[in-house]
């Protein structure tokens, strides 16, 4: 039973497609990113992966913008975007490492999915896929079995409480078929054997702006506000076949709660409770500057100078570094003379014919 404690929300939004003609996948990803940020999830809880740079691509007539609609009202790239993995960093390996938390120790916090057994995680994937796989960067793919195993590992390592998985790709339903870990709800834009279709061709940039499923998902999310009571059942109704052309699918058998009782904001939003107190609180200890309270150090007597940036004479006289010690040439010559002398002394000249 849920108690009053605060559930963390973490989010992993991934676009896996490279090249300009996949503009729509980046726009998909960024619009989901924008919606959840609007609903209160901070950047520190979002891992955003974009496989290519569309905003500052040279083919973009309006640099530093990505639009999700033809009327160009909504710049989903915004002025405050934080892309955690970009370009060549978006690989299957990195994606699985982020999910399972097996990252090198010096990885910064912004590149980690900081979640625990009380976190609700939303994973949104978009890209090109087929029956049972999703392509990354047009050069490698992740299979549905690998993904299911990664989720099982997350569950074993207590990295999530509940997980919502959304995928917008062709034959998307095949990606969640193999899941077997508890507390996962999954949605896909199309059934096995169906293609996911794009929406909104834009003549100015020459490519499509969005995919149909995400377009209507975004439309649905725009009406959500932190206190809305819309539940998951409403989310399943997003983009019927008349709009999407493909049939969106969902899977709830692994999920323990009834989807009708799960609020959208359980995954998409983060509401923080603020308690206001009227009591006066005395902050007695003032801030003390450590540097100021200590006695002033005596100044160093040596006068420091700026370096000469191109000390020509010094560079020329720089000796090439001797790799290892080398005996002087005269010594080696002497040694050889000695060896030869001893040799001839021992065997004499008459034995030379045996040698040569």
């Amino acid at each position: 039973k849920r108690n009053q404690c605060y559930f963390k929300r973490s989010l992993n939004v991934v676009c896996t497609s490279r090249f300009w003609f996949n503009y729509r996948h980046v726009a998909n990803t960024l619009s989901v990113y924008r919606s959840v940020k609007r609903l209160g999830i901070p950047d520190s809880h979002i891992v955003l992966m974009l496989a290519d740079d569309m905003a500052c691509n040279h083919r973009n007539p309006k640099p530093a913008t990505v639009f999700s609609h033809k009327n160009m009202e909504l710049n989903v790239y915004g002025d405050d975007v934080e892309v955690d993995y970009r370009g060549y960093e978006v690989t299957v390996e990195n994606f699985l490492r982020v999910l399972t938390g097996r990252l090198p120790p010096s990885t910064p916090r912004s590149k980690r999915l900081l979640s625990d057994d009380r976190s609700n995680i939303l994973i949104y994937l978009t890209g090109h896929g087929g029956n049972g796989f999703l392509k990354f960067q047009d050069s490698e793919e992740i299979s549905n079995v690998e993904l299911a195993d990664a989720f099982e590992q997350m569950w074993t390592k207590r990295r999530y409480n509940e997980l919502l998985f959304i995928i917008d790709t062709c034959q998307g339903a095949s990606m969640y078929e193999r899941f077997y870990s508890p507390n996962i709800m999954a949605l896909a834009s199309s059934q096995v054997g169906e293609d996911s279709l794009s929406h909104q061709p834009d003549l100015a940039i020459g490519v499509h702006l969005m995919d149909r499923y995400t377009f209507y998902l975004l439309e649905f999310l725009e009406d959500i506000h932190p206190s809305s009571t819309t539940n998951m059942k409403d989310l399943f109704k997003v983009c019927p076949k008349s709009q999407c052309v493909s049939t969106p699918g969902h899977r709830t058998d692994l999920f323990l709660r009834d989807p009708g009782s799960v609020l959208i904001t359980d995954f998409f939003g983060s509401v923080r409770k603020v308690e206001i107190t009227t009591d006066t609180i005395n902050l007695t200890a003032p801030m003390v500057h450590l540097e100021d309270t200590r006695p002033v150090r005596e100044l160093r007597t040596e006068i420091q100078t700026y370096m000469d940036q191109l000390p020509v004479a010094e560079i020329i006289h720089q000796k090439p570094k001797q790799k290892d010690w080398h005996p002087p040439d005269g010594f080696i010559l002497g040694l050889w003379t000695l060896i030869l002398l001893v040799f001839f002394k021992t065997y004499g000249i008459k034995h030379l014919k045996h040698i040569f």
């Binding site: 490279r18 740079d53 500052c56 640099p63 530093a64 710049n75 915004g78 002025d79 975007v81 934080e82 892309v83 955690d84 970009r86 370009g87 060549y88 960093e89 090198p104 010096s106 990885t107 910064p108 590149k111 960067q137 047009d138 050069s139 490698e140 003032p286 801030m287 500057h289 450590l290 540097e291 100021d292 100044l299 160093r300 007597t301 040596e302 006068i303 420091q304 100078t305 700026y306 370096m307 000469d308 940036q309 191109l310 000390p311 020509v312 004479a313 560079i315 020329i316 006289h317 720089q318 000796k319 090439p320 080398h326 040439d329 080696i332 050889w336 060896i339 034995h351 045996h354 040698i355």
Partner: protein, 710 residues
């Protein structure tokens, strides 16, 4: 038998001896290369120890004022409990206490304010009262003021932060506009002595922690989109190569520099949202002579230097946002409000950089403070956004106007370069400003119109400043050719070999000067270093210093450094041939047909200057003219970058149809082919083969042309 064995030993000994002699010879050759010395450039150090002058005193005095202004917020508690005031503070107040009559409006006002403890208003009032910008014209007045102030304020020795911001707008001869922002945060603390710092005021905490954790002595990082076109635009104030560049000097207390470097790049990639974690041993070098520390310090051991370039790095909003957040005012006030990513990236050239280094705290340079310099350089294209009309304003460039200075800044100025426009015949500048400043920039004296944002009069009636440049003449005058200029390209055809050409131009009519060329080439281009040639004016130009570090496959890149003397008015061409390696199939990028990047060459030079340079590095100067320390009056240091190279490597076809065809063909050839072979071939019994001796004999007989044995 014994004789035979000794024979073999003998042979082995001879071979060993011979090889030893050979290596000895090679080493003496290297010595010969480094022998030739013909440049009489001896570093001079006495210039820094110049006697204290009045202007410097005034600088420290000004700093003090700022310090007290910014301290107001944090010292509130001190005011409440009087007995807990730190003694340093006490001494300062004591010196303030007898306000001597002249100058004094300020000191009195200040002492008064200090007791009232009003938060930010104090600061603003103070800045208003501060003396106007130091012009050459106003120098005498300043001198008077300075001497008077020095009586009042002894140089303070406590910690204080300082922030300055500045924007330089320079109309370029090509018709483009060059805008250069510089923000300088100075932080008077000293980790070098091992003190623990936990309180941050203006200096960003994220960077302060990085410096102390990794024992960084200097850190320089830049992100650049586009290539600086020296021949059209002249020299930039601060050079940077396309992509990302990072070079770091660690302190000599660091034991494992490579580990610290690896972790530092990871941390920086998190701070700046960039792929700096791609910096590893395959693109990191340790230059032997380039990249000397830019800050103060007496020891330099190149072991503590690391340098890396990522030429392919993209620069976009996600890099600009964290960069802006490091500023004390963020992008909320001051010059930073102009930084809108839609405009900044809609340009021909965009470069943002960050430099951390220790600098002199005062004129004596007995102690150091940390300087954080954030620079942003943009070149706006006239034709893409101006519709062919030559008219520029702050609003057109940035879609914003200026309304205030950053309240935390001690100085906040906009400079417009009017050197080519002394009487306003070339372009018209409005609103007009009475302040004019002269500075020596890149060996040349330039004149600037100055707008002081800390002065309310600058904003006029509309409470906003929109500097407008309107050209009168259609064509601007001819630009002087830049004295130093570099180019680079790949020659050759095919996918096996090629040749890298680097051209360095010395456009000075009669003076030769030395340049230091640094080339890093990734391991998958195998340089044939014996084909290295350096020619100028058709003759061989022997470098006076060569440092070459060969590459190791998948481990380290090539590093080539050469000190070359450029003859006057000449083009020096450096060529070296290379072979393209075949990568393993997993090592190709997802888009291998795009090609592979080779980072820019770095050309560091001591260029003869037109006017005498100011060798006093501790004196207060505009930010854009005070980055590289200057040691000699006749020359100035400059660094330029050539183009990065895009090289195609032999690439297998990764596409699906190709692979399907390959697989099908293999199946057909192996499966069907062998079956077909079995069915159609006739089998015969072969004669037993000849013995080894007979076969050898037959080979010899065949050579002699004698009938073979059967």
């Amino acid at each position: 038998m014994a004789a035979f064995r000794s024979n073999i030993f003998m042979l082995a000994f001879f071979l060993c001896g011979f090889s030893v002699f050979v290596t000895g010879d090679v080493q003496t050759n290297q010595m010969n290369v480094a022998e030739t010395v013909f440049i009489d450039n001896v570093p001079t150090t006495e210039t820094d120890a110049s006697p204290p002058s009045v202007t410097e005193q005034s600088q420290t005095a000004e700093e003090k004022r700022l310090w007290e202004g910014t301290e107001v917020g944090t010292n509130l508690a001190d005011g409440a409990s009087d007995n807990k005031v730190d003694h340093v503070h006490d001494t300062m107040q004591a010196t303030d206490a007898p306000p001597s009559p002249p100058a004094k409006d300020q000191t009195q006002r200040f002492a008064f304010d200090e007791r009232i403890w009003e938060a930010t208003n104090v600061e603003i009032n103070l800045v208003e009262d501060a003396p106007p910008i130091r012009d050459k014209e106003a120098d005498e007045a300043d001198h008077v003021l300075d001497t008077m102030q020095t009586q009042d304020f002894p140089p303070p020795s406590t910690a204080k932060d300082q922030f300055q911001e500045e924007l330089v707008i320079k109309p370029l001869h090509s018709g483009d506009i060059y805008a250069s922002f510089q923000f300088r945060t100075q932080w008077d603390t000293d980790f070098l002595l091992g003190s623990k710092v936990s309180h941050y005021r203006l200096f960003p905490k994220s960077l302060g922690q990085v410096i102390s954790k990794f024992s960084v002595r200097e850190l320089h990082i830049s992100f650049t989109q586009g290539y600086w076109r020296t021949m059209q635009w002249g020299q930039p104030f601060l050079p940077s190569p396309p992509g990302a560049e990072l070079w770091v000097w660690f302190q000599d207390t660091v034991t494992d520099v490579d580990l610290a470097w690896k972790e530092l790049t990871n941390v920086l990639s998190g701070i700046f949202c960039a792929s700096l974690n791609f910096i590893d041993s395959t693109n990191t070098v340790q230059p032997s002579a380039s990249f000397k520390p830019l800050g103060v310090g007496n020891v330099t051991d190149q072991r503590f230097l690391r340098y890396a370039v990522l030429p392919r790095e993209i620069v976009c909003t996600e890099n600009l946002t964290p960069w802006k957040k490091l500023l004390p005012c963020g992008s909320k006030a001051g010059l930073a409000v102009l930084m809108k990513s839609e405009k900044l990236f809609h340009s021909s050239f965009h470069s943002q950089a960050l430099h951390i280094r220790p600098v002199c705290k005062d004129w004596q340079c007995k102690s150091t403070s940390w300087e954080l310099r954030q620079t942003l350089n943009v070149v706006f294209d006239l034709h893409t956004s101006g519709q062919g009309k030559r008219e520029w304003s702050l609003f057109k460039m940035f879609s914003r106007t200026l309304t205030e200075a950053c309240p935390l800044a001690s100085s906040s100025k906009v400079y417009v370069d009017i050197t080519d426009n002394p009487q306003g015949e070339l372009f018209e500048l409005s609103p007009a400003t009475p302040l004019v400043s002269q500075a020596v920039v890149l060996g040349d004296g330039r004149t600037y119109s100055v707008y002081d944002l800390t002065d309310h009069a600058t904003f006029g009636q509309t409470h906003s400043l929109n500097v407008l440049l309107r050209w009168r003449a259609a064509e601007s005058g001819e630009m002087l050719r830049p004295l130093l200029h570099g180019e680079r390209y790949v020659a050759g055809y095919g996918l096996q070999t090629g040749e890298i050409h680097t051209l360095v131009y010395n456009n000075h009519p009669y003076r030769a000067f030395p340049v230091l060329l640094l080339d890093t080439v990734p391991w998958y281009l195998r340089l044939y270093i014996h084909t290295l040639t350096v020619t100028s004016k058709g003759r061989d130009n022997k470098p006076s210093y060569i440092h070459y570090q060969p590459s190791k496959d998948r481990l380290q890149p090539h590093l080539l450094e050469m000190l070359i003397q450029l003859p006057p008015n000449s083009v020096t061409e450096v060529t070296v041939q290379f072979e393209r390696a075949l990568l393993k199939w997993t090592e190709y990028t997802p888009d291998p047909n795009h090609g592979f990047y080779v980072g820019s060459s770095v050309i560091s030079a001591l260029v003869p200057s037109v006017v005498a340079m100011d060798t006093n590095n501790t004196q207060e100067r505009p930010l854009f003219s005070s980055f590289f320390p200057c040691k000699e009056e006749s020359t100035y240091f400059m660094r330029i970058y050539t183009e990065p190279l895009l090289v195609n490597l032999p690439t297998p076809d990764f596409s699906m149809p190709y692979n399907v065809i390959c697989l099908t063909c293999t199946v057909v050839a192996v499966g069907y082919g062998s079956l077909y072979n079995l069915l159609t071939r006739t089998f015969q019994v072969e004669e037993p083969s000849q013995g080894l001796a007979k076969r050898l004999a037959n080979i010899i007989r065949r050579l002699r042309g004698v009938p073979l044995l059967t």
